[in-house]
Amino acid sequence: MLKNHPYIPNASSAFEEMLRDVGVSDTEELFKDLPKFHFKIREMPKEPMDELSVKTEVMRVLSKNAIFRNRCFTGGGPWFHYIPSVVKHIISRGEFLTAYTPYQAEMSQGVLQSLFEFQSMICELYDMDVANASMYDLPTSIGEAALLCSRVTGRKKIIIPSSLPRERKSVIINYTQPQGLLVKEAPYSAEDGCLDQECLKGLINRDVAGAYVESPSFFGTIDDDIKGVVDLAHDSGALAVVGSDPLSLGVFKPPGEYDADIAVGDGQPLGIPPGLGGNALGIMACRDDPRIVRQMPGRIVGLTQTKDGTKRGFVLALSTREQHIRREKATSNICTNETLLALAAAVYMSLMGRDGMARAARTILGNTKYTIDKLKRAGLAAPVFRGTNFRDFAVSLKNVDGINKRLLKRGLVGGRDLSKDFPDLKGVGLFAVTEVHIREEMDVLVSALHEIAGGT
């Protein structure tokens, strides 16, 4: 048996004394009730590796990854946005990093107040009254929102736009189908990539619990009539769920202004690096309607005061909705969420403020327009969908895969091949530019695409 390890203080000097106090001669005696199976743990080192070797080994493996950053122009998320240095420093603080869910509120005011501020800033951004402390990611936010709509209305049908990528639809189905919900897709308009309201009218009726619509759409287009969708939903007694990119809300009208009941989003653009798509932050907010608030999934932090009334303080509110109390009757099974990333988003929004958010959004809008215009002038078929694009835009190319391979040779990452998600969009790539891209970089993309894909 090993005699010591830096992470295990009692393996050495205290060991014998503790054994004696417990009344055993050996740790084996503590495990007598385990059935004896003979097994060998292969596939990993037998003995601990020293810290230097661990670092060297992990870095050796990871060095096979290539880093493109602002030479990556892939749309559909995650995105490379600028992250102010302060964000990483704050979320790396041990007091936040090594804490858990604030079950003991009096000792966890830091996480609680930070989450309350995250919720509050999300409410401002989305023009909502209540936000939860996070969901896993956008797909699960939509899935949970669908369940929420069903609980509130007692109905079983959900409408989503057909413009969602396949994996998002798959998650939504996994969240809703077991509850007997029926997910119907409303087609997107070939014109602007937004939900086709005429088709929606045909689908919506008194069975519908909720209708989901998003702007920008997955294709990056701004829907100029979200209100129309919301009204259609409300007219039939359904709830309206509106998805928005949080950064786009620096300039665009928020879900609340369209009378949305529930708002969702992907929080990754708020100060969180792409991390192979693994740093997700699901946003969920709603109106101050007790029917909805009481059915919300996830943790929600509330402001209160000490019992003696002398100080302000924060606690986890409405816990009776949650699994640790309600068990199978809970509004969701979610326990651990994405708190540290919600903190990152809170720090990010605090730094950006109203001015920074608007500037970043304007820059993204400008860069998007600049790149699309330039592609058009180079004779490329961009954008595929008309209207205003924010960050993401679709370009019709002949062979996305082949073109991407050739772009890669020039050190550029091209568009996401939309034919994998939408068989109709054969040869269409989804690109994105953000505020991190400078003019020269966008020019390089345009000329590379022009040379490889050619113009008409």
């Binding site: 003991q104 209160t304 005061q305 820059t363 400008g366 890669l408």
Partner: protein, 508 residues
């Protein structure tokens, strides 16, 4: 004496002053005349533009001070003992943080082409192999975002498995000692939850289980060691009963710490396993996430796993988009990648022997604590004197009856001594429950200090109970008003609601 920091810290909104900025952001570098407020882009219909955005305006130093002060009003493992039962609050090694923050981890995109993420795929592949070998499973998905999502994944796999066999099974059996997420996840996956009572010895009652396992049973969800910290010694018989009834065995890995390196769920008859990398595998809890809840299955269930999984074919790592039987996707992406990197580094730092040592010392620490705490007046350890594994549940029922001091009071009094409380009022089958888990990374000195604190609290409870009931006095704030936080008239869940409340108070 312990005193937690307290700053009379305003809300970030209250610090806002017009015109301040926290970071300089370029505005429209392409010169594409996009100042939307001036109507620069003809194509943007003014109807989609927003009015005022009420985010705070604060300078950078104020943001840094604000969140640094808040951090000091927060307890973490880095500050001292944190024996929350079933949460495995172990030290989060900093070398793993350094590795997780490498550009090769954070600055890569899932769609940048498999050739340029071979390192990431290799790491995912190896992690899958390591976890499989540790648990006796065939293959893992690393996708689930947290333990509860792992449970949902597992339940969806059970659902698909039975459906595929044309077998209509709509029940999942869950012991009454289970974590709340188990019944909640089973219900989310569309199952009816059948609860089985815990026997006198603190383990599942085999006879009751036999009655519950029928041709409607899709599976049994089990935590082993269970939430009482006891190893379910009839695990193999239980598996036989469930399998004979046609059900599947699901292992909730929340408590894997109690047997890691010493027993494998696969050998104990489990078909599906979820692990909490933020527990047994040392990745930080982050104040409540991000976590990671990989799910492993035996070979007969491999086709049901979410897609994609990583495969090694033709000398390169590839994504396997699987079979039609797959349940599809449970979340976006391939999993919490930076968390997975940390877990991988941890496994290298430990090795198989180190993991076994972590198990031994975690169990030794808990039994050492249990022995001492059982001698303190007012506390007892229900369900017999058998050795616990990584956690122990203490009941303060006697103390409550004799002095009025409850488990909640004890928890708050611990905070006053610079010790995070245990998990309280769980499992539900123990009255006035205090559930302690001293992981292998805690020192003997701190466990002794913790025992002394409990002794002192007990003495106080019997001498002057009011002094315990008024705790905490040394935490950042004293006891908070939960009723006010949840009452429809005073409930305040955002700054907006706060302002509305002030208006309402002013007008009334």
């Amino acid at each position: 004496m312990f005193r937690q920091a307290y700053f009379d810290e305003p809300l970030i909104f209250e610090m806002s002053r017009e015109g301040k900025v926290g970071v300089l952001i370029k505005d429209d570098p392409t010169g594409a005349k996009t100042d939307v407020r001036k109507g620069g882009i003809a194509e943007v219909p003014s109807g989609v533009l927003r009015g005022k955005l009420n985010l705070p305006e604060v300078s950078q130093i104020e943001v840094v001070r604000h969140f640094t002060r808040l951090s000091q009003m927060n307890w973490g493992i880095d500050l001292g003992p944190y024996p929350l039962g079933s949460c495995t609050m172990k030290y989060n090694p900093r070398v793993n943080e350094d590795l997780a923050w490498l550009d090769e981890v954070q600055q890569i995109h899932p769609e940048q082409g498999l050739e340029s993420i071979q390192g990431a795929l290799e790491l995912l592949y190896r992690l899958d192999r390591m976890l499989s070998s540790l648990t006796g499973m065939h293959k893992f998905t690393l996708q689930p975002a947290a333990g509860a999502q792992g449970e949902l994944t597992g339940c969806l796999i059970m659902r698909r498995y039975h459906k595929n066999r044309g077998d209509r099974r709509d029940e999942i059996i869950v012991p009454d000692s289970a974590h709340g997420t188990n019944p909640a996840s089973a219900a989310m996956a569309g199952f009816k939850v059948v609860e089985v009572r815990t026997g006198k010895d603190g383990c599942i009652d085999l006879e009751l289980l036999k009655g519950a396992a029928t041709d409607r049973t899709a599976g049994l969800m089990m935590t082993n060691p269970n939430t009482l910290g006891l190893f379910e010694k009839r695990a193999c018989d239980i598996a036989e009963v469930v399998h004979d009834a046609g059900g599947l065995m699901y292992y909730d890995g929340a408590n894997l710490q109690g047997i890691v390196g010493r027993a494998r769920p696969g050998d104990l008859g489990f078909d599906i396993v979820h692990l909490n990398l933020h527990k047994t595998f040392s990745t930080p809890h982050g104040g409540g996430g991000p976590g990671s809840g990989p799910v492993g299955v035996k070979e007969h269930l491999k086709d049901f796993l979410p897609v994609p999984t990583v495969a090694y074919k033709g000398w390169r790592y590839q994504l396997d988009w699987g079979k039609p039987e797959s349940i599809g996707k449970i979340r976006g992406g391939y999993g919490s990648f930076p968390i997975l990197v940390r877990a991988y580094a941890y496994l290298l730092s430990m090795g198989a022997e180190g993991l076994r040592l972590s198990c031994d010392i975690a169990v030794l620490n808990t039994n050492y604590f249990a022995k001492k705490v059982s001698k303190i007046k007012g506390f007892s350890i229900p369900f017999g004197s058998a050795f616990r594994k990584h956690e122990v549940v203490v009941s303060a029922e006697e103390m409550t009856k004799e002095t009025g001091v409850t488990a909640l009071d004890v928890a708050k009094a611990l905070l006053d001594r610079g010790l995070h409380s245990p998990t309280i009022y769980f499992p539900l089958i123990v009255k006035e429950a205090l559930m302690f888990e001293f992981t292998e990374t805690e020192t003997k000195e701190n466990i002794d200090r913790y025992v002394d604190a409990l002794k002192e609290i007990s003495d106080k409870a019997y001498a002057e109970p009011a002094s315990v009931k008024s705790a905490p006095q040394n935490a950042s704030v004293s006891r908070l008003d939960e009723v006010r936080a949840n009452h429809p008239r005073t409930m305040c869940l955002s700054y907006r609601m706060f302002l509305k409340g002030q208006e309402r108070d002013a007008s009334s």
